[in-house]
């Protein structure tokens, strides 16, 4: 393992200041589920270096809290455990799509250590990227090995290129479908942005999957209260029955009245370098009575722009199937 210094932070601001102090050489440490894994394998290259300093967020009081206020919605501290999100009664009742997504993350043990912030900021699972010996494009090399190589499982069918990773998080699609906001803290300033615009594709930034500055941390994710009659559903497909990252996943959150969809948000996971908001599909769903044909049409629209790679065309069908099922499930009254 790459050696590192561990510094406990006492507040989000202090964490950001520490990151600023060791600029470029420090990174926040949450559960360590992904970060220590990368450090052990030394997944680095010209553009991605392993940190010398880890700023421990666990020592920050209350950053792991989950709170709900009727009418205002839900607030998830960055250090809230994925297992707590999964088990939280209010979330299960009012934000079932989020509890479903949390239950799909890794394994019970890893959910017990993994945090909301870490889950959103984890690095992709492309096996070329994760192979320490391959100087792939994302690490600062000149080739994306997935283009010519084995791109069957964890590579993009949408918005790919120049690098073809897919975003690994299960929480992100659900949280975006719920129209969440994310609060970021820097040493001097804080900002709050829609979670959707937190993520970027590899054309926008090849080396980082989000807009975090090197001295910023995620402090909190807030989820607005869903409108009356709003329902959601998360579905994920994987190689083994459990334990694996998504081959594709679908998050659907919609308001329905009398079997008709008033409004909706649709996000796909495992198919693009970022959680993929399928706006055309949303248009196809809004104002429609939910049935097989409509669901099928929504799925077609969502994958209309798909450009599969040499070996992953099946993921297009897979994503369509999942989305169709998620629409029908969410629409079931």
């Amino acid at each position: 393992m790459k050696s590192f210094q561990l510094i406990d932070a006492r507040s989000p601001q202090e964490a950001a200041s520490l990151l600023n102090k060791y600029k470029g050489k420090a990174q926040p440490l949450a559960g360590g589920g992904d970060l220590l894994y990368l450090m052990k394998d030394r997944i680095e290259g010209r553009q991605i270096q392993m940190p010398d300093v880890l700023v421990n967020l666990e020592s920050i009081p209350k950053l792991d809290s989950i709170s709900y206020e009727k009418g205002k919605g839900l607030k998830l501290g960055a250090m809230a455990l994925v297992s707590d999100v999964e088990a939280n009664k209010t979330i299960r009742e009012r934000f079932p799509i989020l509890a479903q997504a949390a239950a799909e993350v890794a394994s019970p043990q890893l959910r017990n250590m993994g945090t909301v912030g870490g889950n959103l900021c984890q690095k992709p699972r492309c096996w070329y990227y994760r192979n320490a010996h391959l100087p792939c494009l994302k690490k600062g090399g000149s080739t994306c090995y997935a283009l010519e190589g084995d791109n069957r499982y964890y590579h993009a069918i949408l918005e790919g290129g120049p690098c073809y990773i897919v975003h690994p998080s299960d929480l992100a699609p659900a949280l975006i479908a719920l129209n969440s906001q994310v609060a970021l803290v820097g040493p001097k300033q804080s900002r709050t942005i829609p979670l959707e615009s937190f993520f970027v594709n590899t054309k926008q930034n090849l080396y980082q999957e989000n807009v975090l500055k090197p001295d910023e941390i995620v402090q909190e994710v807030s989820v607005p209260e869903p409108k009356e009659g709003s329902r959601g559903f998360y579905l994920k497909s994987r190689i083994r029955k459990s334990w694996d990252f998504a081959l594709a996943s679908a998050a659907v959150q919609m308001e329905i009245a009398g079997g008709v969809c008033r409004d909706c948000r649709i996000v796909l996971g495992g198919v693009a370098p970022l959680p993929y908001r399928a706006k055309d599909a949303e248009t196809a769903l809004k104002g429609k009575k939910i049935n097989e044909q409509v669901a099928l049409k929504v799925a077609e629209e969502a994958l209309k722009a798909a450009q599969p790679m040499s070996m992953n065309a099946y993921k297009v069908d897979l994503a369509k199937t999942l989305l169709k099922r998620a629409v029908l499930q969410a629409g079931k009254v």
């Binding site: 050696s3 394994s107 190589g149 694996d244």
Partner: protein, 919 residues
């Protein structure tokens, strides 16, 4: 390295303060600094569960916690359970229920369960599987673990233990494995758990290229790094200086060097090995080695290697025609056939996936003898290799097998410990090696991938009349004919076919070498042949069961190699045994598919497959064993048997205990130690029990004869009146305890130690051109039924149930044999559905896709078949070959459900969807 700090922790109730770098993993500190080696390292990447500890009572993976993250917290390890005497209820349950095979996964699973039970003393089975699935076990197939957890939970709640009535004798009775208690408590020392003062760590530099010439290796800079003790490379090998061939495994018809000499032929091939004070220094040293490669074109995959213009790995070419078998007249056979079916099939590499990575510790003792302890299945061959490589006499090398944390044929004479031993000999200090999971996956041997063409002909009534099979076995970078020969012999399947032509070739490619893996040969064949039968049955509108039963081998049948079969031919009995299950499954499937909405994306299917594989030694050399009655009246048995976690030693002890009328606890087995039990034996597992068991039985017969005559004299009766029971010689109510009898023997000068020998008598090497001969004495045979659900839109396959009937002869220990069969079935299921090794790419257990408890089907295990006259107690054993028909049965079931025929494995969602589109 980071500065040390003082770290306070509570471990197993004791407050400790230790000096450690806060960035080291808790796992490493527990093992290296605190000697708590019950916590295992299977992957170091959060993917196996063996490192589980309790952190504040909650289960946590210690491999991914920096000690700096757990300062001041309470940690519990397996050593802390059942403290204060006696086993913890869960430990007791694991022992009793046969849930422990190799035992490497056991401590982690027990702790996980304990964490669950503290919060929920009576969990539902869903809750249990949910906690269990991240724990990988490669041996048990999870069924017995689930049973043990439920039983352990009951014990833990204070419910009374189920006491089994005591009975006469041991053979045929369920007994927990002899070493299980050591494994559930974490006391068992696996190779990675060994430490010595002044020990160096070995690391291996591996080729980054699949094929290259080594122009130069420069270790000079690396040697100057403080803490580096020495290097072994192809340039400074003692064997080369001695003029000996530097082979990893001498005498196997293979040229695989112990370390690359002037050329590398696969990515991951060892190029240099270093010994250094710490792992970090060893790694630094490797980074400082300069290797100048001239990269050559490489060839991966049999298809590519067969092309005429493929790059050559050996000057002779990439293909070696290894074995042809001909019987009857193939042209005439096909001319007579009413249906002929011809297809290509492909089965991929399979990683053994033992949860214990390769490890060993070697040193030169004060007498100058090289001493190696390693997790090898074959200590005797390691001894041979090392003696040859170092120019030593066999007695100057001692190899002891540590408990093997899963072998399955993959822990033979391996680079890991052979290089560590060579280093220890060079640098004259203890050297330890432990592979990372990545290097284990990258470099260890695999099951041969196989490309197979099957042309099968049958007459209108369903009789098989002709088979032509062309087999291309991907042997990897170094030729080795054995497995290819096994595959050729298996090609006809357990069926009578009058006209056969089999051509089997091994094909060299630029990947790690292929090697032995349980069910070898048979599994590839079954995948092809059993689907062929299905297609023929379809064309003839015949029942799949009928066509198998009609053609099944019977006593008196002659195989394609001309072997007249007499005993142990139970294939039809196994077919009969599964028949009711098969028919019931078909009914259920029909009802299920009928009741589901037509739009349902789930389809139920049922598949049948038979399997066989040659079973028995490849030589007529005898194997030997000794038995001795010790002064305290207990029995010592020395043999070449190594415990691989498959219960072989327990079975052997059961046989010995029954023959001598002593308690199981009073049989001391010594084996797997080249110095204390110098009886080389080359096969493993159950076959070894047949052979070594034979030798032990012979020796015991002599001992019994001697003891009978001495006790008859002492008791003043006829020898025929003497029996042995309960640790006594008995005659009409009078008894003479064995310790007294031993003393008497010494007084009258009757020896107490006897040697016995046994051999596979029938073996006649196959003629290379006609394949006529006797390849082995026995064949393992079985039938399976698989029931699956297939999702036609997502490509998911769920295996719901597998029914297995095997021809076992006498079952020495039903609980252990059942556990073996479960483990094999789940390995076969993984091979069929989730496991995939992509050369040069697959690096982690998650990527490889070992099945978890969530993939486990319901398993029904049936034992059938008659006693085998020629083996000890009439036993045949049939655990490991349960893997053979599983992929074929699953493929047939998928086809039954959907009409999609899979000619390539694994059936991952993408491939299932592709097959569905084609059908």
């Amino acid at each position: 390295m980071e500065k040390k700090s003082r770290i306070r922790l509570t471990i197993n109730g004791k407050e400790l303060e230790l000096e450690a770098e806060p960035n080291r993993s808790l796992l490493e500190v527990l093992r290296d600094d605190l000697g708590l080696t019950g916590t295992k390292q299977g992957c170091d990447r959060e993917e196996c569960g063996t490192c589980t500890v309790l952190l504040e009572g909650v289960s946590a993976l210690s491999c991914n916690l920096a000690v700096g993250m757990v300062v001041g917290r309470k940690v519990e390890t397996i050593e802390g359970l059942g403290q204060g005497g006696g086993l913890h209820p869960l430990q007791k349950a694991f022992v009793e229920k046969g849930a422990v095979q190799c035992g490497f996964c056991t401590p982690g699973i027990i702790l996980e369960t304990e964490a669950l039970l503290r919060r929920d003393p009576a969990p539902t089975s869903e809750k249990i599987t949910e906690r269990l699935f991240p724990h990988l076990c490669r041996c048990t197939g999870y069924a017995k673990i689930l049973e043990a957890i439920e039983y352990g939970a009951r014990l833990r709640r204070g419910e009374p233990a189920v006491v089994t009535a005591s009975h006469q004798g041991y053979v045929g009775r369920p007994r927990s494995a002899l070493d299980a208690e050591d494994k559930v408590t974490g006391r068992a020392k696996f190779a990675a758990d060994l430490y010595m003062p002044d020990m160096a760590y070995a690391k291996i530099l591996r080729s980054p290229h699949a094929h290259a010439i080594i122009r130069n290796i420069d270790t000079s800079e690396a040697e100057r790094i403080p803490g580096v003790r020495g290097f072994v490379t192809g340039r400074n090998l003692r064997a080369v200086r001695l003029g000996v061939k530097p082979l990893l495994r001498p005498g196997r018809g293979t040229f695989q060097p112990v370390i690359a000499i002037d050329r590398v032929r696969y990515k991951g091939e060892p190029v240099a090995a270093v010994a250094a004070d710490t792992r970090e220094i060893a790694e630094q040293a490797l980074a400082a080695v300069k290797v100048d490669y001239e990269v050559l074109e490489s060839v991966i995959g049999v298809e590519a290697a067969l092309k005429p213009d493929a790059p050559r790995i050996f000057p002779e070419g990439n293909v070696e025609q290894t074995q042809t078998i001909t019987r009857g007249d193939i042209a005439k056979g096909f001319a007579e056939a009413d249906v002929v079916v011809e297809n290509w099939y492909y089965t991929p590499f399979q990683e053994h996936g033992y949860i214990e990575p390769e490890a060993g510790l070697a040193y030169v003792d004060t007498d100058g003898r090289l001493f190696l302890q390693a997790c090898t299945q074959f200590p005797y061959q390691c001894q041979q290799s090392l003696a040859q490589l170092l120019g030593l006499k066999a007695e100057e090398v001692r190899v002891v097998a540590t408990p093997v944390g899963g072998g399955f044929g993959g822990k033979y004479v391996e680079h890991a410990w052979i290089l560590a031993a060579l280093l220890a000999y060079e640098v004259r200090s203890p050297v330890k090696v432990v592979y990372t999971r990545e290097e284990s996956i990258l470099s260890s041997t695999k099951r041969h991938a196989a490309l197979m063409r099957f042309k099968t002909g049958a007459s209108r009534n369903g009789r098989l009349v002709a088979l032509e099979a062309e087999l291309f076995m991907d042997v990897g970078a170094y030729f080795d004919p054995l497995v290819t020969r096994y595959t050729a012999v298996a090609a006809q399947g357990p069926y009578e076919i009058p006209n056969v032509l089999v051509k089997a070739a091994q094909v060299a490619t630029n990947v790690q070498k292929s090697g032995a893996f349980r069910g070898l040969g048979g599994i590839q064949i079954a995948f092809a042949q059993e689907q062929q039968l299905e297609l023929i049955a379809q064309q003839l509108q015949m029942d799949p069961w009928e066509i198998r039963y009609l053609n099944a081998l019977r006593p008196g049948s002659v195989t394609a190699t001309g072997h007249h079969l007499e005993e142990g031919v139970g294939i039809s009995a196994t077919l009969k045994a599964v028949r009711p299950y098969y028919e019931q499954a078909l009914q259920v499937a029909r009802a299920e598919n009928g009741s589901r909405e037509t739009a349902s994306t789930w389809k139920r299917g049922v598949g049948l497959a038979c399997g066989w594989r040659a079973y028995g030694g490849q030589s007529t050399d005898p194997t030997e064993a000794t038995v001795e009655l010790l002064p305290d009246g207990t029995l010592e048995v020395r043999s070449g048997l190594v415990e691989l976690g498959v219960g072989s030693t327990t079975a052997l002890a059961q046989m010995a205990a029954d023959l001598m009328g002593v308690r199981l606890e009073d049989v001391h087995l010594i084996g797997g130690d080249t110095a204390r039990a110098p009886f080389p034996y080359t096969t493993s597992g159950e076959k070894a029990v047949m052979m070594i068991g034979g030798a032990v039985c012979r020796a015991l017969e002599e001992l019994r004869a001697a003891l009978t005559s001495v006790s008859a004299q002492a008791l003043g009766c006829r020898p025929e009146e003497i029996t042995f029971k309960g640790g006594n010689a008995l005659q009409a109510g009078r008894k003479l305890p064995l310790d007294r009898l031993a003393a008497l023997c010494r007084e009258v000068g009757v020896p107490l130690k006897y040697q016995g020998a046994a051999r596979w008598s029938g073996y006649r090497p196959l003629d290379p051109d006609t394949g006529q001969g006797v390849f082995c004495d026995l064949y393992a045979m079985r039938t399976q039924v698989a029931e699956v659900d297939v999702n036609t839109t997502t490509g998911e396959v769920k295996v719901l149930r597998v029914v297995d009937a095997s021809d076992t002869g006498t079952v020495v220990n039903p609980i252990l044999l059942e556990g073996q069969i479960h483990g094999s079935i789940v390995q076969g299921l993984g091979y069929a559905l989730t496991e995939e090794f992509v050369p040069g790419q697959t690096a982690t257990l998650r990527e490889y896709g070992l099945p978890t408890v969530l993939e486990m089907p319901e398993m029904v295990v049936l034992f059938v078949g008659d006693k085998v006259p020629s083996t000890p107690f009439g036993a045949k054993g049939a655990g490991e070959t349960a893997i053979v028909p599983t992929p074929a049965a699953i493929a047939n079931a998928i086809a039954h459900a959907t009409r999609a025929r899979l000619r390539r494995l694994p059936a991952k969602p993408d491939r299932v969807l592709a097959a569905l589109r084609e059908s």
